[in-house]
Symmetry: C2
Subunit: 279 residues, 2 copies
C-alpha cells in the first residue's frame, strides 16, 4: 500500500479547498450540474471564479439523455447504471480544460445511497484518482457505509465530502438526522471516521423558500452542524441565485449549486433559439 | 439491400425539415454546438422552438474536454479521433429526449474533409440511423467524396446536407467555390448527385459583419446558391443573434448556429457563478 504519496495527494486537495474558501471570503461554491460534466461549461464556471467542480452520475444521466431521463428525480432512479469508466472519462475531460488548481470531487455509482447493490472497488478509486479527481462526492446513508467509502477513497488519495440527510427528503442523500441535536451528533461521528468535508442537505423537500430567506428549521440544523465540527462545512440542496445569500450568512464554508446554474444555461439557450427563430 | 424501407425513412426525414421551414416562415434553424450533444440543452432548444438538431464530432471533442481542446479551431484538428460509437451514443441520447418529430443530422469522423484518412462504413451508417439519426451533416471537399457519402447514407435511410466552402476559409468545410458563377455550378452538381440540402459556408473567414449586416460577397454567393437549386438551402458559419436577420432576409431555408448559442449558455453559467460567489 502506498501511504505517503496518497497522504500528499490528499493534502494537496485539501489545500485547494481551503484556498477557495479563503479566496471567497469564507464561503465558496461547489459548482455542479452541467458545469460538472460538460467541459465547455466547466471552463465557463472556472473563468467566472468557481474553484470547486463536481461531476456526478445522475447529472451525467441527464447530460447523455440516458434512457430518456429529463429531470433529476428520474435520473436518481437509474444513476447506478452509469459506468465507472464514463465517470472517469468525464473527470479526465474536465481536468484537461480546468487545469491542476481546481478541486474536482466526483459522485459515482456506489458513492451515493444506491437503489440497487452497487460496489466500489479499489481499482475504481485508482482509476478516478488517475483521471484527475481530488475527492469523492458521497451520499451514503449510514456511518458504516461512509466509513467503507472513506477507507477506499483515502487509500487512493481521494478526500471525502459526505452529507447529513433530511429523513423527509424524497431521495436519501446522506445519513438521516432530523433534530438539530441529532445533526450535531451525526456530524461528530462523521468527523471521527475521517470525513474531510461535512455537508447538510438543505432543500430537496423544503417548500416556500423565498428570495434571501432560509427556512427556520434548516437554519437550526445548519447551525447545529457548524457548531459540531472543525472540518469545512457544506450546504447542498435547493440553493439558487435568489436564496444563496441566506446560506452564506450562516457561515457555512461551501454551497453546492447545480440545478440553478443549469437553469441559467438553459435560459441562455432558449433566448438564443427564440431570437434566431425570429419569434 | 433494403430499398423501400430506407426510401420511406428518407422521406419521413425530409418531411420534418420541410415542415420546420414552413412553420418558421421560410427560414428555420439548425441548432448545433451544445444543443447538439448535451441532452439537457437539446431539450431546451427544442422547447424554445428548434426542430432541427445537429450533433457533430468537433463539438463533441469540446464537450468532452478531449485532449484539453477549448476552442473550435483546436477541435477541428483532432475531431477525427472521436469514436463513431460515441457519436451514435450522443445521437441516441438526444433522440431519447427530443422525441421522434425532431430532425437530427449528425457530423461524424469521415463526413467532414478530415485531416487524416478516415473511412465510413456501411455498418457505421446503419449504427447512426438505428441510434436515431435522420441525416448526415457533411463537409466533403470534392463531388466524388460527397457522392460516396451520399450513396452510403441514402442506402441506410440518411439524408445528406452538404456545403460549398469558401476557398479562403481556415478549415475547408465543403467543396470550394469562390465566384458566384462557380457557386451556382457546384450547387447544381451537388443537387445532381443527390444532395438533399445544400449549404453555403458564409462566415468562418469573413471579418466585419456588423449587427444586421451581411458582407456583399457573401450575399452574392448566397444568391447564386439560391438561384441554382430547388432543394432546401442552408447558410452556415459566423451567424449569430446580431446578424441572423440579414441571412433570413436572403430567403435561405435554414441557418446553422452553434457558437452563438454556446456563448449565451456560457453567459448564463458565468452569470450564475458570479452571483453565487457574491462577486
Amino acid at each position: 500500500m502506498i501511504v505517503g504519496d496518497m497522504y500528499q495527494k490528499r493534502e494537496a486537495g485539501r489545500k485547494k479547498v481551503l484556498a477557495a474558501i479563503a479566496a471567497h471570503g469564507g464561503t465558496t461554491l461547489l459548482s455542479t450540474g452541467i458545469t460538472g460534466d460538460d467541459a465547455r461549461m466547466a471552463l465557463a464556471a472556472v473563468e467566472a471564479g468557481a474553484r470547486l467542480i463536481e461531476p456526478n452520475h445522475p447529472a451525467l444521466a441527464l447530460a447523455r439523455g440516458y434512457k430518456g431521463v429529463t429531470n433529476m428525480h428520474a435520473a436518481e432512479n437509474l444513476r447506478h447504471e452509469i459506468k465507472m469508466e464514463q465517470m472517469a472519462e468525464v473527470v479526465n475531460g474536465i481536468r484537461n480544460v480546468v487545469g491542476p488548481d481546481i478541486y474536482i470531487t466526483v459522485g459515482v455509482p456506489g458513492t451515493f445511497a444506491e437503489v440497487v447493490p452497487t460496489y466500489l472497488s479499489d481499482s475504481d478509486m485508482a482509476m478516478l484518482a488517475r483521471a484527475g479527481a481530488d475527492g469523492l462526492h458521497t451520499h451514503k446513508s449510514t456511518i458504516e457505509d461512509l466509513k467503507a467509502v472513506i477507507e477506499l477513497g483515502h487509500k487512493n488519495g481521494l478526500l471525502i465530502d459526505a452529507y447529513i440527510a433530511s429523513p423527509r427528503d424524497r431521495h436519501l442523500f446522506g445519513i438521516p438526522a432530523d433534530k438539530p441535536s441529532d445533526v450535531a451528533e451525526i456530524a461528530k461521528q462523521m468527523q471521527d471516521v475521517g470525513t474531510d468535508f461535512i455537508g447538510l442537505m438543505t432543500g430537496m423537500s423544503y417548500e416556500g423558500v423565498a428570495a434571501g430567506e432560509i427556512a427556520p428549521e434548516v437554519r437550526k440544523r445548519l447551525d447545529a452542524l457548524l457548531g459540531a465540527v472543525t472540518v469545512p462545512t457544506i450546504a447542498e440542496g435547493g440553493i439558487n441565485t435568489d436564496n444563496f445569500k441566506a446560506f452564506i450568512g450562516t457561515g457555512v464554508n461551501i454551497i453546492v449549486v447545480g440545478t440553478a446554474i443549469d437553469d441559467l444555461a438553459k435560459a441562455g439557450v432558449r433566448q438564443a433559439v427564440t431570437t434566431l427563430l425570429n419569434q
